[in-house]
Subunit: 559 residues, 2 copies
């Protein structure tokens, strides 16, 4: 590997074009782009509104097998495919999520692709970027402050101190803030109560920003947030504290999609980044819809494996935003398939075709699942140097038997030149008109049935279990008019089941729904099937200890 | 008043020039300005470093009498004077502080000047601006997370859980966060301990950013922060957690001064905003020093009245940064002087020359105090429509008897045209070469003596009292090598004394030092003389309830 440059070395060597030039290729006048430095810009709401009547380009989803510690390279493939499509003459735009700042200080690693398939400037994208997440943090915490302030000044809404569900957020891995008692210290500081912080990406405000059509819709959804319950169990909304207007003001700029470029100077929108467990895990609707107006092709990704990411992309984002994906790419690596076949991480360097074939069951399940949404599929084998010919042939043969194609992609090492074949295949699928996109379930079945449909059709589970309290809660929400909402499954990303160690393609397992949460502003019901961590901690030796500015003023240790 | 436009109406009607054009007037190439939108930009560290050998322009401090609810208009006068100097042919640059976002949602009001003397874009300046305060929040809280994480993983440094002094910060008025118990919820969340949040402007990181010369100095100071004490009472530094490098990385862009423009398209640096009680209350050293290289004149301000703001500007900022102010403007209003003379706020509309003359004692004291630093003084009477001729004459006569001049300024209503006379006077003072700037006390007297010198010479106090514990603490710091630091007085801004109701020019009062704090990174010792609120709360009906985006997408209710 010594011959390879690191991601950051490659990114720094890139010949960036001025961001106005990237915008100009998309027909965006300079005045409609608010620059952030010379290599980032926000697209104006005015310009976006003017595009409404234009036809849409093709929408391509990049998803993956279940993640393993071996790494799959979903973002890398998304970026690579965007470059590949541009290489073969398409006007393609990449749409990916913004990175959370907190985790960068825990474990080394970025979220802007890798190798020769990256979006730049990667340092900025992984740190403050254009300030969107800070704005979300502010808006979220303003609402929290207004709630406690309301209680302090007499609690006219009669909100039950024990039932305030709106926590605070910080974009930091900080386990000390998970659970606390706030408002201590006497009369002047309010009424002590149990409280806590989540990481910013887990905020419902993040999910709302990513699903809102425009600023008006954003403000409406913010008002719909349920922040807690009164003594009589009725819901208290953000609107009851008149917080929605000020929150929208704080989010005004954050709602504008961020334009950056790939290493090959092709356009990329990097916007929004909701959790892929308690939220839907896709970049913003406004970025995707705008990109569809400006490009022939839009390549986007969804969080985790296809069981979580693609399902939510289809059932929440596409359903709600009226998007019609034209094709899906499922990313797999030989290494990750071998892990799914039982190989330990340390043994991944050795050829093991038998384990690989066994692990392909995971890939096969995802291919079949995505087809259930009516979307044609191609598999991208993201090439690693340790892959052997026999292993690659085995994957290709397996996928071929499914009536699909697996294409070896070398974009990490070669950029767009290494992913041309996939690009041509994607164009063929998308332009064939064979996509017949439909969400998995209709709006009008019960919330519990929606969970059951996802569990049986996608997870191949035998049963969904839930306490009476959980079932009653779902029924109560249906009676309150929330029955039409889609469900957002919070499940381990490592398995089709709720057991993270159950790799491959398990069948007949039980999906226990421990808890349900109503995200009334975002517009979905979260079904929680295990321990979901909404505030990560730092490891024993966090990467922050090794991050610094070198003598040239460059950031070291972040990637 | 109906004929007058509101601040926001005036600001929106302004004909802004592209920020590159403003920079170009100062000789800044486009490549050295990182734009944030079309009307804000950050100046590169590279360009700043290149200016070192250039001669300095003249430095003018705008300070004020003790603030009253009547308002003095210090920022308005700073901006107006900058425009006035440009009007009379000087290349003048305004240097002011950034606004804190939190308080904007409490009480209506902005921090970008007023009337026809404003910096724009005022909405941005009062909200997220270029993200500096968010970066400070992140850097501060990263250190906090690393401390609790260190304790969680075994506490190798043996930091005493009861003596962690580093709190967390948020740019929000949120009293519920003042005092809390964190790390509740069991083993996975760490060791429960007493904890709390301050508002971001109270962070030592803010003070450090505003005093640091460059990124290297910033990182050094961040490492010097004392975060708590071990069981053996020795100090634990941010450096001990290896947090300084990552904090500097988070602050890399925040260290670059922000360039904006006045309503009259003259350049203004808006950068940094430390508290004026527990910190020194001035804009950043880097912005001021850079402006001195780029302009003939730099007009800057300091927080609160001259007893706090000017004293700290001289004794902390100028001392440490090697700045030599050439003249000072003391802003007064007829209304505020009448309040100092005992008139109630509701009676300020009526002429009252007797009360005015009585209140002039406050102004006279400030004039004499500023002269103690060797800096020549002019008084600016910031005109209000209710001022009568007799009142204005009375102020002028009073100041004239002090051997100085009071000049009526109508910049709020008329912009630079209304402040020409002051501009000429400032040039006369500055170019006379009469300034003989010296800090009030030398570095090498004891910390307690420094407090006594400020209290006697500036506050005209009779005595400084302090418990043995406080005095012992100061001696201990002297023994640890901190004796050379200046003192940063935390005192009510409403009076020369520690009693906020004691207006005018009290004499012989007692200054009780209740507590001392060492800001080892910022480089000063804070002497606290009363209740200092480091986390404000929201009022019963916060302005946030009335802030919203109107149908044109403009922000309403913020100003």
């Amino acid at each position: 590997m010594a011959a390879y440059k690191s991601d950051i070395e490659i990114a720094r060597a890139a010949e960036k074009k001025p961001i106005f030039e990237i915008g100009s290729k998309l027909g965006i006048p300079q005045a409609q782009l608010a620059p952030y430095g010379h290599d980032k810009a926000k697209l104006s709401a005015e310009f976006i509104a003017e595009q409404t009547d234009k036809p849409d380009g093709k929408l391509i989803l990049v998803t993956a097998i279940n993640p393993t510690p071996a790494g799959e390279g979903k973002t890398t493939t998304t970026v690579g495919l965007g470059d590949g499509l541009n290489r073969i003459g398409k006007n393609a735009i990449v749409c990916i999520r913004e990175a959370s700042l907190g985790p960068c200080f825990g474990v080394k690693g970025g979220a802007a692709g890798g190798g020769y398939a990256q979006v730049i400037p990667m340092e900025d994208i992984n740190l403050h970027f254009t300030g969107d997440f800070h704005a979300i943090t502010s808006a979220h915490n303003l609402l929290a402050a207004m709630i406690d302030n309301h209680i302090y000044w007499g609690n006219e809404q009669d909100i039950d101190l024990r039932r305030v569900t709106w926590r605070r957020v910080m974009d930091m891995n900080d386990r000390a803030l998970r659970e606390m008692v706030s408002s201590l210290g006497g009369v002047a500081n309010g009424f002590p109560r149990q409280n806590g912080f989540d990481i910013t990406v887990a905020s419902e405000v993040m999910a709302i920003l990513c699903l809102a059509r425009d600023l008006k819709d954003l403000e409406e959804r913010l008002g719909n947030i349920i922040v807690g319950y009164r003594r009589d169990k009725t819901a208290v909304y953000a609107r009851d504290f008149k917080a929605d207007g000020a929150m929208a003001v704080l989010l005004k700029d954050a709602m504008q999609p961020n334009l950056v470029q790939t290493l090959e100077n092709n356009p990329a929108f990097v916007h929004g980044g909701p959790f892929a467990n308690i939220a839907h895990g896709c970049n913003s609707v406004i970025a995707t819809k705008t990109a569809l107006k400006l490009g022939d092709y839009v390549v986007t990704e969804a969080g985790f494996g296809a069981d979580l990411g693609a399902e939510k992309f289809f059932d929440i984002k596409c359903r709600k935003a009226g998007l019609k994906p034209d094709a899906a790419v499922i990313v797999a690596t030989v290494r990750a398939l071998k892990m799914n076949g039982g190989v330990k991480k340390d043994d991944l360097g050795a050829e093991n075709v038998a384990a690989l074939k066994k692990g392909c069951s995971n890939l096969g399940r995802h291919v079949a699942n995505v087809r259930k949404f009516g979307v044609p599929v191609v598999v991208a084998i993201n090439h690693f140097v340790s892959d052997t010919d026999a292993e690659i042939i085995a994957v290709k043969e397996y996928v071929s038997r499914l009536g699909a194609e697996a294409i070896l992609c070398r974009h990490w090492a070669e950029g767009s030149a290494g992913i041309e074949e996939l690009a041509y295949k994607v164009v063929e699928l998308a332009e064939s008109g064979q996509s017949r996109f439909e969400p998995l379930y209709p709006d009008d079945v019960s919330l519990f049935e929606k969970i059951e449909i996802v569990a049986s059709k996608i997870y191949h589970a035998g049963e969904v279990t839930a306490d009476k309290a959980v079932r009653d809660q779902l029924v109560a929400w249906e009676e309150q008019g929330y029955g039409h909402l889609p469900v957002c499954m919070a499940k381990t990303q490592y398995s089709f089941s709720t057991d993270p160690n159950l790799r491959g393609a398990p069948e007949g397992h039980i999906v226990p729904v421990r808890e349900v949460r109503l995200a009334a502003g975002a517009g979905f019901v979260v079904a929680i099937t295990g321990e979901i961590m909404t505030m990560p901690g730092l490891p024993r030796s966090p990467s922050a200890e090794r991050i610094y500015l070198n003598d040239q003023g460059y950031i070291e240790g972040l990637f």
